[in-house]
């Protein structure tokens, strides 16, 4: 869209509403003579806005009063009990779902933590048996830090992280 048209577009609504001063109005009307696109937009906008001004009032669909009268009669007889209990799903469901998820997570975590070692699946148990050898464990761990000398400060720190305090060299 040309720059001029973009500028015109900013004032289109004021033009349609008749809120522009004579000078600016003349600028817009001159532009409309040269630009078909802006002229069409102004005309369509003008027609739509006019439609809002002459908006006809519409009668409700039939059946409003009979339904309303029945509700009112029920209300007179039963009072507040006749009203359906409104449930705000948004307010109730969200916290309920959050609490439920939290409880499920906690239960599952507790179950995993307290599961006896002898009941572990066979493959998993074998793997943990294999890792019992301390030297092998340290060696496998240190494989990731192959370029760190074991007797350096960094090496000492790494070993201190994987060995219990009483087994420290």
């Amino acid at each position: 869209m040309p720059k001029k048209c973009r500028k015109i577009k900013k004032h289109l609504f004021s033009y349609v509403e008749g809120n522009l001063g004579p000078g600016r109005r003349a600028v817009l009307e001159n532009h409309f003579q040269a630009c078909l696109r802006c002229r069409t937009q102004a005309q369509e906008l003008h027609q739509l806005w006019k439609e809002l001004d002459i908006w006809e009032k519409k009668s409700p669909l039939p059946g409003l009063w009979p339904a309303l009268h029945q509700r009112v009669k029920d209300f007179d007889i039963k009072g507040l009990e006749s009203l359906p209990k409104s449930v705000d799903f948004n307010r109730l469901l969200r916290p309920a779902a959050a609490v439920l998820l939290l409880l499920l997570g906690a239960t599952f975590g507790y179950f995993l933590g307290s599961y006896p070692q002898e009941k572990w699946p066979a493959a998993y148990a074998e793997r943990s048996q294999a890792a019992v050898s301390e030297e092998a464990y340290i060696a496998s761990y240190l494989e990731d830090f192959w370029d760190v000398p074991q007797r350096s400060l960094s090496g000492f720190y790494i070993i201190s992280q994987i060995l219990p305090e009483d087994r420290m060299p």
């Binding site: 577009k9 001004d53 908006w55 519409k58 009668s59 409003l64 009112v72």
Partner: protein, 191 residues
């Protein structure tokens, strides 16, 4: 001689259903059209209108006559329409309504309005009104309320301010912003 709104309300408090019927028939068009403008849906507007009048019946004993009855009804209409729209949005999360059905409902609302016009003219008006209702539905609730009350219901800024319990300046600002937003939406639609 027709009875005043206040007198009808006093009789409604004593469970006088004929007074209630008279008040409903006096204001059903006002309430329904406000709800229609705010919801953009004929069926939702009908539900909202029913809720508004039921609320009027329930709250009649506590009405303190500090404002006019139409002002009170406009307030209830705004609240009930927005509540229904909110509930509708939650409902759609569970069961999505097709866009077609919503369009059909809008068409139903407009059809009866233009029944007396020539077919071509009627079709054109229907198209325009559909476009406008859709554009209004795209506004923020705050902007939609002021635009419907001011433009469709023809209320002054002062009257809208009274309904919304705010100042005239605030309402005028909102009307200005609503018009700007509507302009953008309409221009993007008629491109």
């Amino acid at each position: 001689m027709s009875k005043s709104d206040e007198e009808l309300i006093r009789r409604i408090v004593n469970q006088d259903h004929s007074a209630y019927e008279e008040l409903v028939s006096r204001y059903e068009t006002l309430v329904y059209n406000t709800c229609l403008g705010l919801t953009g849906d004929a069926v939702l507007a009908q539900d909202a209108a029913q809720e508004v009048f039921f609320q009027l019946y329930r709250s009649a004993p506590s009405f303190r006559f500090e404002c006019r009855v139409p002002t009170w009804l406009y307030r209830i209409s705004v609240n009930k329409s927005l509540n229904l729209l909110r509930r509708q949005r939650i409902y759609r999360l569970f069961r999505s309504l097709s866009a077609v059905s919503s369009d059909e409902r809008m068409d139903d609302a407009i059809d009866s309005k233009i029944g007396t016009k020539q077919p071509e003219e009627a079709w054109e008006i229907k198209e325009k009104q559909n476009l406008l209702l859709k554009a209004i539905a795209d506004l923020t609730p705050e902007q939609r309320i002021v635009l419907v009350l001011h433009k469709l219901e023809g209320l002054t800024s002062q009257e809208v301010a009274e309904i919304l319990d705010t100042s005239k300046a605030v309402v005028e600002g909102r009307i200005h912003r609503a018009k700007r937003s509507l302009q953008k939406i309409l221009l993007s639609q008629i491109k």
